[in-house]
Amino acid sequence: MRDVTAAERGAETAAARDLRLDFFRGLALWFIFVNHIPANQISWLTPRNFGLSDATEIFVFISGYTAALVYGRTLDRQGMPMAAAQVLHRCWTLYATYIILFFAFTAQIAYTARAFDSPLFAEEMGIAGYFQDPVTALTQALLLKFRPANLDVLPLYIVLLLAFPLLLPALRRRPLAVLAGSAAVYLAARHWGWNLPTHPGGGVWYFNPFTWQLLFVAGAALQFRPDLRAVLTRFRLPVMVAAGAILLAGLYLTLSWKFAPLHALIPDAVTEILYPISKTDLDPLRLLHFFALAYVVLRLVPAGASWLNGSLAAPVLDCGRQSLQVFCLGVLLSFAGQTVLVHVSGSLSAQFLVTVLGIATMVLLARFLGWYQSAERARRHRVAASRNVGA
């Protein structure tokens, strides 16, 4: 019985789960949590303040990569129907999570929204649309169209995964052709302004799925082409210099939003070309910056880096392995954290405490889930083994 578990584990590690995937996804989740607390000054430490791309790019790219890894394996072993069923099962889990999250969020909002009841804010903002027409708001929420702030990444993730079974066989066979198609959709969406609508009317998805799919597909395509991956990430001085230059330019631009003298040094002609840098439509500059960042980081952190197995990296890795649950918890925690900072105390020590406690809670959940999953797997094997003995 022990042998079976070991064999299965062996198969998993044999497929070479790159620890860097879990590490950087875990890190992205931490950043997303911290960034979602507006009153938290510690969020200045996260990458969005030092470059054009941020944690969302990391999260979406790695999600595409791991989706290809996991479902590609199922496709090889058990065929397309099983892989599609697995993806759809995952979507269902995500959707259920989204709805649960939505209600937990609504409860928190209901508590906070009493602010709109003051004549000062009611005059300009109305009694917040959220509660004016609950029937519409709820049906629209089920359609993913009514999305309170902060829940944006999840619907994007659901839509991308829903489309994934359609792409999977083609991706497996001709990853680059699919990537080219994905790039064409990206360009078309940017050119003709495609996006999905939101409720109340007239709004668009904060993360445009037609543009953000490119990163997801790029991650998946690279997973299926190890040869190409090796070529792209090989060390070449000119590429390294170019990537470094892009990162420095990104740093300069982000700093110029904070320090006017830096902004003044950029010629008008350049700002005309650069701006606006759209996050909704995944601006090419953000893409460029993300790939430069990925290149540099992958060179700095080789696949077998020993510190990834150390105790310092362990909490981050745990979060990266349970990304869905940890992401959801992070969204709730960041809203709760903001409420604490607004209603109880907004001091620097309170901000620090909220950040540390929030991340600790995320790690605890991740550890618990990890333990539960391995224990459950062991139990199943035990049951299966005892059944065999009985027969």
């Binding site: 903002m125 709004g203 909704t280």
Partner: protein
């Protein structure tokens, strides 16, 4: 994860504006702003000037101001918003000028409208009324409805261009701030777009969002108190102070050469 660091942008704008305004700030107005309302230069500093308004005043025409906003008209009696207060505040500040200046304000209320829907009525109203100055408050509905920030920016640019084409100056005003509303609505991309656009197109951006945040952080107003009396008090405080600060900014920006020296102004300042 969202937004582009509006705080940085606003600080940047404020610093830039402060640097530009240094030579002319400090005189212009005869009536001080209520100390409870005042905010430091890093939050609010007057812009470069209102050349079209100054030209009209120099030609002896009245100062006509059109306020376009997306709020409902105050319905309850006894409630006076900043649009209604602006005329009086401007009169008090301009009464000391060498030539007598008449101040006239009109209000165009487009409740719940996002910026793209405000441009046409705004242009029409400027056509009809021929004001010297337009105060355009917008962005609230756009942020509440998650409208595309780029569409918002395009509309903003279009509105500014329409007003300029008709020979009037324009001041743009952003949203209200409270920690509670800001927790539910993501204003950041819209505020930063306004301040960035103002910076690049030489239009004065009246940073109401940052002003109100300064008051909250400074403990001058507390929106968390849910008593009716407290709500009425904060309403009154915010609108009175916004009216004063807006009037002060406008008065300061009307070309200082047209204004009489502050010493004389002060002696005449109290007369209605």
């Amino acid at each position: 994860m969202r937004g582009r660091g509006f705080r940085r942008l606003l600080t940047a704008t404020a610093i830039a504006l402060a640097a530009l305004a240094l030579p002319i700030s400090g005189h212009a107005s005869s009536v001080a702003v209520d100390p409870a309302c005042s905010v430091p230069d890093t939050v609010l500093a007057p812009g470069e000037g209102l050349p079209r308004v100054s030209a009209q005043l120099a030609a002896g025409r009245p100062l006509s101001v059109l306020i376009v906003h997306s709020a409902k008209q105050a319905s309850k009696p006894g409630i006076v918003g900043y649009p209604a207060r602006l005329e009086e505040e401007l009169k008090r500040r301009l009464s000391g000028r060498a030539q007598r200046t008449t101040v006239r304000t009109t209000v165009l209320s487009l409740p719940g409208e996002p910026a793209p829907a405000m441009v046409a009525p705004l242009a029409q109203a400027v056509d009809d009324q021929r004001p010297a100055l337009v105060v355009w408050q917008t962005g609230t509905a756009d942020a509440m409805r998650n409208l595309d920030p780029e569409g918002f920016g395009t509309a903003l640019e279009a509105g500014i261009a329409e007003v300029h084409r008709r020979g009037a100056d324009i001041v743009i005003m952003d949203m209200q701030y409270s920690m509670h509303t800001a927790q539910l609505i993501d204003f950041a991309p819209y505020v930063s777009y306004m301040s960035w656009l103002a910076q690049s197109s030489d239009v004065f951006h009246f940073p109401r969002y940052d002003i109100m945040r300064h008051w909250v952080e400074d403990g001058r107003v507390d929106f968390a108190d849910e008593g009716d009396e407290a709500k009425r008090r904060s309403y009154d405080f915010v609108h009175r102070c916004i009216g004063q600060l807006l009037a002060e900014s406008i008065a300061t920006m009307i070309a200082p050469s047209a204004a009489i020296p502050p010493a004389i102004a002060r002696s005449n300042g109290t007369s209605p």
